[in-house]
Symmetry: C2
Subunit: 501 residues, 2 copies
């Protein structure tokens, strides 16, 4: 069927071009839906999403791809590493998608589009039953998809693999067990320590000034505004269409300056990853970050390890004082640093402190497992959620809006994504250690607002590779085999110092 490798590669690249385009269009429709679209416009968007999803499906599941892949695979030795990896990733999609019945695939796209609108309304109105029927269907689809993706795995493991290749509940159970063992005593000691005053973070911070702060933070992060935009959404996220077009979003709360501030730095970390991918991977299957876990390792590296460090706060504090002179009267950089690191049980994951954050993830992890294995019904989700928050965080959930309706992930069909946040958090300190081994001290740079060496190191070791390697490979090449004790040691050291334990 194919005369030579070059023809076959052209055929593959043409498919990739079209997959990029349909994905880009869907991404922009989603961006519009979450940033600008009037509320009741989902019908039209749903139809378009359905057609575009159908086009992706048709393009990927096309039986002719079997011959193309077989030809490329039989010539794998003659392919360069990029073409080999493109073949490998297209094989994975082809095998997975070929197993999903066409109509199911399209219907799911429509469902997810509607579910997102409904979730937004349900959250606004604190009305879980409005969203429940959609979530039920999403869970059903995901359970079925898991079987299509990898029938050899337990359904939840198959879903995990979508976000982090090679990840299993076994590994995660052990990982969370270690965190629990190391961190629960630390959390208790922090609870017993004299509380940190962070009341000034909750003064009135007008949105207009917060927008200026976002611009400033994007400058400090070195985000190129000609290629990176910022918008406002219910729930912050990042979307990258290529290394030339990346968007981050945030949500301003007038009574909480740290919320958007750390959303911008977190999403900025994602954007730095996307913008740092090598241009040669644009418009191919290798475009963008290697995995959700690795992506979160970058966002949380900038959010917590850099953004919540004392040197970083010392660097940005003059700007904070300039923008918010009244709100920060009598506060110094060290006081601000303590405040943004204050630890304690809380309701909202995205507002959680670095230390208790993983407890929020554990709640979601447990519930997702149960939803997928059928031991938990969607109707019982709010109760189960509230129970686990009491159990893990000792806290009562006053409303579903601040409970199981708080995150957008499930409404967008992402089940098995949450653990990536915990993994991403745990990857950071090990990366930092390797970075410091190579670069020496980085904190002088951070204090001076010069992140170029830090970004350069991450760019060299992580970002530029995009999806050329499996995430585990990228991580190991950068800093060796994953060892979560770097993370627990980092937290112990940081919180011991912070709370003078």
């Amino acid at each position: 069927m194919y005369e030579n490798i070059s023809d076959a590669l052209s055929a593959l690249r043409e498919i990739e071009d079209r997959l990029f385009a349909y994905g880009h269009a869907i991404g922009v429709l989603y961006l519009d839906a979450t940033t600008a679209a009037p509320r009741d416009t989902f019908e039209s968007r749903g139809r378009t999403m359905a057609v575009l999803n159908q086009a992706i499906y048709d393009l990927t599941a096309n039986p002719e791809n079997g011959a193309l892949l077989a030809f490329l695979e039989s010539n794998a030795a003659s392919l360069d590493p990029q073409a080999r990896r493109e073949t490998e990733l297209f094989r994975k999609s082809y095998d997975q998608i070929s197993r999903i019945p066409p109509q199911e695939y399209v219907d799911y796209g429509v469902l997810v589009n509607e579910a997102q609108s409904m979730w937004a309304r349900a959250k606004e109105e604190d009305n879980f039953p409005l969203f429940a029927p959609y979530l039920e269907k999403i869970v059903d689809y995901n359970r079925r998809f898991a079987g299509y993706f990898n029938p050899a795995l337990k359904p939840y493991d198959a879903l995990l693999n979508e976000y982090e290749e090679g990840m299993t509940t076994e590994t995660l159970d052990a990982f969370f067990a270690l965190l629990r063992q190391e961190l629960v005593p630390l959390i208790s000691r922090v609870k017993a320590a004299p509380p940190i005053d962070d009341s000034f973070l909750f003064a009135h911070y007008p949105v207009a000034e917060q927008r200026k702060l976002s611009d400033y933070l994007m400058d400090v992060l070195g985000l190129d505004r000609l290629h990176c935009g910022i918008a406002e959404t219910e729930h912050p996220y990042t979307t990258g269409f290529s290394n030339l077009d990346v968007r981050i979003t945030t949500h301003y709360f007038e009574d909480n300056v740290a919320s958007s501030m750390y959303s911008v730095i977190h999403e900025g970390g994602h954007a730095i990853y996307e913008l740092g991918c090598d241009s040669k991977y644009n418009y191919t299957l290798l475009s963008g970050g290697a995995s959700m876990g690795l992506h979160e390792s970058q966002s949380r590296f900038f959010e917590n390890i850099i953004g919540r460090s004392l040197p970083f706060i010392q660097c940005i504090f003059p700007k904070l004082r300039e923008l918010f002179p009244e709100q920060l009267q009598g506060v110094d950089a060290e006081g601000f640093w303590r405040a943004v690191n204050k630890s304690g049980p809380s309701l909202i994951r995205t507002e959680a402190d670095e230390l208790t954050y993983c407890m929020h993830i554990m709640v979601r992890y447990e519930l997702e497992k149960q939803l997928i294995d059928g031991s938990l019904k969607v109707a019982d989700l709010p109760e189960a959620w509230n129970r686990l928050y009491r159990e893990y965080l000792g806290i009562s959930v006053p409303s579903d809006r601040e409970g199981c309706l708080q995150d957008s992930h499930w409404s967008s069909g992402s089940i098995g994504y949450f653990p990536s946040y915990a993994l991403g958090s745990a990857y950071g300190p090990q990366l930092l250690s390797a970075m410091e081994k190579e670069l020496g001290d980085i904190w002088g740079d951070v204090a001076a607002g010069n992140l170029s060496r830090v970004k350069g190191w991450l760019g060299q070791h992580i970002h530029r590779h995009a999806r050329l390697y499996q995430p585990g490979q990228v991580f190991e090449m950068a800093c060796g085999k994953f060892d979560p004790s770097y993370y627990t040691n980092y937290l112990k050291e940081k919180y011991t110092k912070l709370y003078q334990l």
Copy 2:
């Protein structure tokens, strides 16, 4: 090939579904490009546009459509009017697009995407040579396309037909000649009259307050915000994806309150049309307004006939005073009405008064004709532009930014569109006359801010039909054969009263 009409119609509707989706995606990409996208992101968007344009091309030019159309046409007597018109419009696209070579069609999409970015930069930097090579290519493409569209017509006539079926340079030459004959003396008399004081319109009007004014005006126009959004762009426009999802844009100038105010009302008129189309035409080729001229008749009806009437100003003036108490100190409704109707030669089409507006169109009409027939080179456009502004409006153009770079139309590939504005303006007073014949006086309603009868009449006679009929048919059914003397009489009456001539 087709067993029965129902199968053939299903096949047609499936094509229409996909055409809608690709068009919707392109529309949202354009919306993003003009409202939110970072500046240097056109490469990625260009690739996606190219793929989507290719998909539209493939879908439309597919030779199998020939058989489908032949089958439907041979059964035309058994089709309902909607299906018959869908067939007719698809035939027109099929014939036209089948004549454009595939690569040319796709390249043009890429060109137009880049041209828009370049135009925006060129305008910002007042640098016509930056945009010129793009405009040259756009003119060349349009000249070739004209030949593909309708080789029997003169090229410019073929382009006109894209925007207003049946329109010719002959008709337009006569139409403009009449306007010149009737309006030039009126313009002279106005020029000689004591000038109107409109200085207060150019006080400092903060954007935040102007945004509130936009919201208020959209309320007065009865635009359903659950289905109609507003955004900010360099050049205001309206885009409708269905009667459920319409977006208008505006541009705020802090030193000119009337600019955005009348953009919102103008685009609001377009939006009322799109929102008023019957739902049964959504997602078909009959979706949206019947022609550009008819569309402009609605936007300019609301902008000028309603929006610049004394009763409307009396209705909204309390709100204006509330939002801008200092800027409007000592001004009353009548003074405001006079100010927004002040007439005189000006540089910027979108800021032009109702009376001189058509002169701006005439400049563009003459230049477009010459660009397409090759008697004017793009390089000589600025000079020719400036010469005509002196000739028709007696005004010197100080920069290309305020001259031939002011409008986005040419950069988006629209040549032959401008005359629609003049036609649209001329349609309005004839519609008004028919409306008043049926409804009696409407100005009491307008003064009370109740536009429901006015909108109801237009909805009944114009909007709901969408593209079921040819634009000329819709217009004639609503108010009889087109007679531009309604327009000239309306202007004479209005300006005689306004300037007490």
